[in-house]
Amino acid sequence: MTIATFATTDVELNDEGFFVHPEQWTEEMAPELARREGVDDLSEAHWTVIRFMREEYLTKGSGPTVRVLGKASGVSVKELYQLFPKGPAKVAAKIAGIPKPRGCI
């Protein structure tokens, strides 16, 4: 567990860099979080994905997998990888301040 500061607010991150308390997240933190993940500019398409991730987490208790993102967010899996080359579900979850999407077992 580490404490990191985004948009002048201290937040708690787990060992993999995901938010421990998603309610600590604000939109102002997203650009800084994105830069940490190698995404320098957040386009409207990035924001579509980030908002969708948070919405899914808040209603269902887990962020979506890449496949569900591709089916339900309006952004295709190919585009998702262009937006978040290092792995859309993981990286977008970090930027959106939600826990690691629950992979299937």
């Binding site: 979506p64 997998t65 890449v66 496949r67 569900v68 089916k71 339900a72 899996v77 190919k78 998702l80 990888y81 080359p85 290092k86 792995g87 826990p99 690691k100 629950r102 992979g103 299937c104 077992i105």
Partner: protein, 419 residues
């Protein structure tokens, strides 16, 4: 008036549920109707052995109707859709079935057409799957004629049925090519979207070690975007490529298509959102779900379905009696992992506890997370238990539905809840 119970699917979950319910209720108390589109009940764990000539399709298929107790009404038809507001199932043949309780037990289906190129040139010629009887049989012929080159085993994405089966395929392929004396001319490669050989840390390390021991190359975090059968390569969304001479692909899975045609019943992948402890669906209180059709965070495996049976049937009875449901299911899964050379290892876990070393079901029992001949015999014997004990809905002596802890060795590196 008798309760009307309709069960969709006569596979592992639907069959054992119907048989348990039939024993619980007399004909005056409940009518039980089971619907399935065909009369071929496949013992799915047997599919793994077909490509290596160790069993044959006809030996693992039996008629569905004959696995059901007398007094269970068996309707052979595909499902058109379910109207959860009207408590009515419309069959593909146009008939309708009204229910007081519906059990969704239609499992998972393969959707290879969702992956670019997978069903294109080379499909069933140099690109195969052993997850269907037809695919497994075609792969047997292809392996028999294979005399060297790169064999790539690929999981497109999770969730899949029996997540250990692709690993077992690698272990058996190593054994198979050694037996044929051509192992030196074959490269075996395991390509997975996960960040390790398996999902849970302790077993993932053990299984990665076994892949290395057997000379199987491991490629991780590979999200297959395209299968190029003509060019002989897998292409990941991030641009990485893995070349192959023969590819064994586990296609994407989804729930049954009728779930998608039934408003409010399923999720984006046509699995049914389900309470992971009570097995009641989140779609409607009188809809219950068993087995691979549910979106619960347990393995899609026959053992899970078997262990769910007790909780499911108890909760259906409680629901019909107007009593509160019990959160009885703990996510218990139990898998024999065939490792070749007449050996197997065994893993046992649930929602909270990852697979640990030790013995099952108690201190004196089968070794866990360790190769042994006893586990291989256990795996072979299981087919008999499947037809004669599990499907009839009887308990296997000494094997409870909940995960046992006696006999297990907690390890310093083990983690708590699965993510």
């Amino acid at each position: 008036m008798a309760h009307r119970i309709v069960i969709l699917g006569a596979g592992t979950g639907g069959t054992l549920t119907a048989n348990r319910l039939r024993r619980l209720y007399s004909a005056e108390e409940a009518t039980i109707t089971v619907v399935d589109r065909d009369d071929r009940h496949v013992y799915q764990p047997g599919l793994l052995f077909v490509p290596f000539g160790l069993t044959h399709s006809e030996d693992i298929v039996r008629p569905r109707g004959r696995q059901l107790r007398a007094g269970v009404d068996y309707r052979r038809s595909a499902v058109g859709s379910v109207d959860i507001a009207a408590n009515r199932v419309t069959l593909a043949d146009g008939d309708t079935l009204d229910y007081d309780v519906l059990v969704v037990a239609t499992g998972a289906v393969l959707v290879p057409e969702e992956t670019e190129g997978l069903t294109g040139p080379g499909w069933m010629e140099r690109v195969f799957t052993f997850y269907s009887p037809e695919g497994a049989a075609a792969l047997e012929a292809a392996l028999a004629g294979f005399d060297g080159g790169r064999v790539v085993v690929n999981i497109v994405d999770m969730p899949i049925k029996c997540p250990v089966a692709p690993l077992e395929f690698c272990f058996l392929a190593d054994w198979y090519f050694r037996e044929r004396g051509i192992r030196g001319q074959v490269d075996l490669v395991y390509v997975t979207p996960l960040d390790g050989a398996f999902t849970k840390p302790v077993s993932s390390r053990a299984l990665a070690g076994m892949l290395a021991e057997k000379g199987v190359e491991l490629v991780t975090e590979f999200n297959t975007g395209e299968v190029d059968g003509a060019g002989g390569r897998l292409v990941a969304y991030d641009g990485r490529e893995v070349p192959f001479d023969l590819a064994v692909v586990v296609p994407l899975h989804g729930g049954a298509p009728y779930v998608g045609r039934s408003p409010g019943l399923g999720d984006e992948l046509n699995f049914v959102p389900t309470d992971e402890r009570t097995l009641q669906s989140k779609a409607a209180p009188n809809v219950f779900v068993i087995g691979d059709a549910a979106n619960v965070p347990a393995s899609k495996a026959g053992s899970v379905t078997h262990f769910e049976g007790e909780t499911l049937v108890g909760n259906i009875a409680r629901f019909l009696a107007g009593e509160p449901l019990e959160p009885g299911f703990d996510g218990h899964a139990n898998c024999f992992i065939e490792t070749g050379f007449h050996k197997a290892l065994l893993i046992d876990f649930n929602y909270e506890t990852e697979p640990l070393p030790g013995h099952y079901p108690g201190p004196v029992g089968l070794p866990l997370l360790k190769e042994s001949r006893l586990n291989h015999l256990g795996k072979l014997m299981f087919q008999w238990f499947y037809w004669h004990t599990l499907l009839p809905g009887r308990d296997i002596p000494g094997i409870g539905a909940g995960m046992p802890v006696a006999g297990k060795t907690p390890t310093a590196t083990s983690e708590g809840a699965p993510q």
